[in-house]
């Protein structure tokens, strides 16, 4: 099943690097223009569940890596997890939304927008999701200094003194 899919992917798309990690795990690295068409291709193959969109901050290479994890619910013989990776520039953190293929991508993209500052073109609901405070740099980026932030905000709040009259 794995090798079949690898062949299919590599023949349908040019610049896709497919790697079989385990019996049930398969990674594909693709350029960012091809992501949407690969996702719809895989959806037609039966991988109808987008389990997760994640992001890795490669600060030395000045790139963000977006990770899409796909599984299948509808077809029982397709047990693989497909991990689709693509890279975007750190300077210009913009990418197209995949809501047109997978509707449940919306909250994942909101999360990445909030924690990494990536702007998903076409997603109209990039509003705050978890965080209550404002951050100058999105807090999950590697150049966000948490220790400095804690010193400046939470540590500066004074204790309510007990004995002072």
């Amino acid at each position: 099943m794995n090798k079949l899919l690898k062949g299919e992917l590599e023949s349908a798309f040019k610049d896709v690097l497919v790697n079989i990690l385990e019996e049930t795990r398969l990674t594909a690295t693709a350029p960012k223009d091809a992501v949407l068409s690969i996702l719809s291709f895989l959806k037609n193959k039966g991988y109808d569940h987008l389990a997760l969109i994640s992001c890795v901050d490669w600060i030395e290479e000045k790139e963000f890596e977006l990770v899409y994890v796909l599984t299948s619910y509808s077809e029982k013989d397709r047990k693989e997890h497909i991990i689709l990776k693509t890279r975007i520039l750190r300077k210009k953190p913009e990418f197209k939304t995949v809501i047109s293929v997978f509707k449940n991508a919306e909250p994942y993209e909101r999360e990445l927008h909030e924690l990494f500052g990536i702007n998903f073109e076409g997603n109209e609901r990039l509003t705050p999701l978890f965080l209550e405070r404002d951050y100058k740099i999105p807090p999950f980026r590697k150049d966000f200094d948490t220790r400095e932030y804690v010193k400046e905000t939470f540590d500066k709040i004074p204790f309510v003194e007990e004995e002072k009259e």
Binding site: E132, R133, P139, Y149, V150, F154, V160
Partner: protein, 186 residues
Amino acid sequence: MDRNQIMKWFKQPHEMSQKYSLWVVYFCTGCGIIEIPPVITSRWDAERFGVIPVATPRQANLFLITGYVSVKTLGAIIRTYEQMSAPKYTVGFGSCPINGGMYWDSYNTIKHLDKYIPVDGWIAGCMPRPEAIFVAVTHLWTMIDKGMATGYIKYKEKYKSYRRNQEKALGKLEWPPLYSMEGKDE
């Protein structure tokens, strides 16, 4: 029950009933809540100590903060605490509410809970054993007897300072002040 205090209980029976029925808000703050199901069920049976979880904060008078407090949770904690009826006691459970614990340099957890609401006692450890809750409860009894568990009175007196700290952490608060905002600012 302490036999020496029987006369005191006859004079002020409500104090005994408050002391021996500490009802807990069933409020899951963090990972510490995993210790609560064994505590309230038959294995450790907290009802021996008069501790039972209740559905709403308006019926409760013991507030267990079980775990790390994120900024968003802090808002819910303050709201819950202000809804509880006096006398109310707060106990921080685990090392995270004391000083941040393993989240001491996290971007989104508050480090010292007693900056925002008064805390009567702490249970240290990560995780504390369920027995630690009973140690805390019996300790709280002694504190109530001696008049040391006065967090809720302090909250009323120093409300201005608490409210100021809450606003520093959360920005503008959505609810009106519980007590009068007049008073000394420290």
